[in-house]
Symmetry: none
Subunit: 210 residues, 4 copies
DNA sequence: CATGAATGAGACTTCATTCAT
DNA sequence: CATGAATGAAGTCTCATTCAT
């Protein structure tokens, strides 16, 4: 116990700093967040930050990695035991909506992800991998639904995953662009219903493909 | 003659500058594009830019406005006469795919749009308006389809427009992020079929609502 | 005249800055001279320096190049029309001694030259070329003396040039290291007499080699 | 036993640190050698260095003192018993050439010595003393030669020592600056012959003075 | 003895912007 | 119209040094 706590304690400074940094980045944007600002928020001096991170870019990278793994833990923690595939997709959607509306971290991550495409190769790679994991997770859910017989088997799970990921992210961006005027929840839910309807075995006419 | 040519030249200088500026902004992002870089690219000095534009923000704003109106003209020119609503959506999709894959313009616009969210209010407003116009156009198409009796009338056109815009943009972003690994065309087409199926009056059972 | 003056005028800021910078470097050393100090000495702001020079290293490099060419002009200007080769060597020695004792620029240059060997490749190359030119010049003087029949012809001019250059520089360094305790003039003159004696056709015993 | 071993270990730590430090100083120069770099090279942390040395300057000073005394022991061990003064000078020259070409130690010492002139008074003093000892040694050799009647007695031994020390060091520096292009051995030997000729009682005509 | 964490001062550099010519 | 020169504020980063544990 004491033994196990030591290494955790030693990494705490770094952890805390990453959390504080992500907060600042999310509030003011990456460029507009100076090291001095982060240091102030942490109650430290600039030098302390450079003790823990090589430069501002490493701080960003690590902070994003940290936040991303929190996201993913939070998603998979709430959903993983897939009972009903439809429900899993609904739950996933709910979690995404929560994240998108209840803190600005997700907004920062999503906008940063787009900016990074042309701007920061290492970060872009990190986001690419994250999106692949997310689509992979969705694909598994859909495959599970097909196994359970509740989703049509003539759907390509990978493609369906890409459609879902894109629709949710695209809705989010419209929302971040116009939080007042854009109805995120309505849009995402409308998509979800249409999406599930297209996945599910048709109730009326009978059998899918075969 | 000489006198009449002057203002034209002047306007040309301004216009050239905007074109060059937008290229730089698109290539390097807004923050990473310094006035010096634009001046270099234009073969002028920084002072010359300040003759044409009050400050960097005005240059960016005007340059984006200029490029956006070019872009929208080019898009609407290819789609406008709506005969069949379904076909109009298919055409729109095709144009979006073309722009996304065959040149960098659209990618630049999307990237800049997202970056602007956090860094430049006036610019963000401009992009917000553009997205509204796009959704407005889609809404009109859907309404037309409802008027033609080929789309279900219990669909909210505005919400459906938002779903479509988001799904296409979200797919694009996944593609920009991973041009090699992501199947943009397959994803967008899969979405489109599912989307049209959910919009169209059901072929089998008959009436809308059920 | 007016025409010729223009480009000179435009380069004046740069020239002045280089002169001021060399002064500062010579007084405080390169590392201990901050850009702020140079800017202050010049009555400008730091930014102005970065308008003229990419970075501190370029400023050093250019300033050294500038100072070096002044040195060389001053040496060759005072000596070039080689009448008597012995006198040319005596004059060269006098000029070196003057430079070494009457300003700290030469001291800075010589010490910097040694430091640069392990530290700054571009600068080292510049110094290498300068020393080659200096030895080349000495070699020419010696050849001239051989042509005039006053120097023995069995001496390798290049090697003799290297001996001279080293002896003078080595004496200088001992002087810079201990300006109070080291008799630069006596040492260099003692060397010079012995050096000339070894170069000159022996007065007594008669013929050199042949 | 355990008690007695402690201080030894402590002294070893100090000594190891000095060796490592001198290597770093030699390789990168004084200014470019940070405490962090030394600590890394030693596999310790910065704090450990401050346990052994009050500050960076003390570390440098002690390290140089340590290395210098090693070096001087090694040199004087190879030369000391002066039989023939001429031979002693030839031996000294050979040892200098060996050290200059077969290891980096001497080069490092010369480089550091010059850097210290402008950057570190205490260190400069130490090097000043070393050069004085070296000239003192040479002076003794020359005086011995005068006593033996093989060197002219109208030569000032101190001045002759300064000439020798300078010529050898100056040749070395030209060699360090251009190891490929500069013929160190030829230059030093050419100097040595001319130097001995000027010191030795003239073989032909007989008496010193003339 | 040694470490890990932190400080604080100061360095270099960038950049939007201004203005006389 | 355009340039060259300059400003000034702000930002990133380095490094010798300290200290509790």
């Amino acid at each position: 116990m004491t033994d196990a706590a030591r290494p955790a304690r030693s990494e705490n400074g770094r952890r805390d700093l990453m959390d504080i940094a992500i907060d600042c980045f999310a509030r003011y944007g990456y460029q507009a967040t100076s090291i001095a600002r982060i240091a102030d928020s942490a109650g430290l001096t600039k030098g302390a930050i450079y003790y823990h991170f090589r430069d501002k870019e490493e701080l960003l990278f690590e902070a994003v990695a940290n936040r991303l793994s929190q996201f993913e833990r939070s998603v998979s923690g709430q959903i993983l035991p897939i009972g009903d595939a439809s429900k899993a997709l609904r739950d996933t959607t709910r979690v995404c909506l929560d994240h998108a509306t209840k803190s600005n971290h997700r907004r920062f991550i999503v906008t940063l992800m787009v900016e990074a495409i042309d701007t920061n190769a290492a970060l872009a790679e990190q986001f690419r991998a994250m999106m692949q994991r997310f689509r992979g997770f969705l694909g598994e859910v859909i495959k599970a639904g097909q196994g359970q017989g509740i989703f049509r088997s003539d759907t390509d799970p990978a493609q369906a995953a890409a459609v879902y990921a894109g629709a949710v992210m695209g809705a989010e961006i419209q929302y971040y662009q116009d939080p007042q005027g854009f109805d995120l929840e309505g849009t995402v839910n409308a998509f979800l219903e249409q999406y599930l309807a297209s996945l599910e075995v048709r109730p009326g006419g009978g059998l899918d493909k075969s």
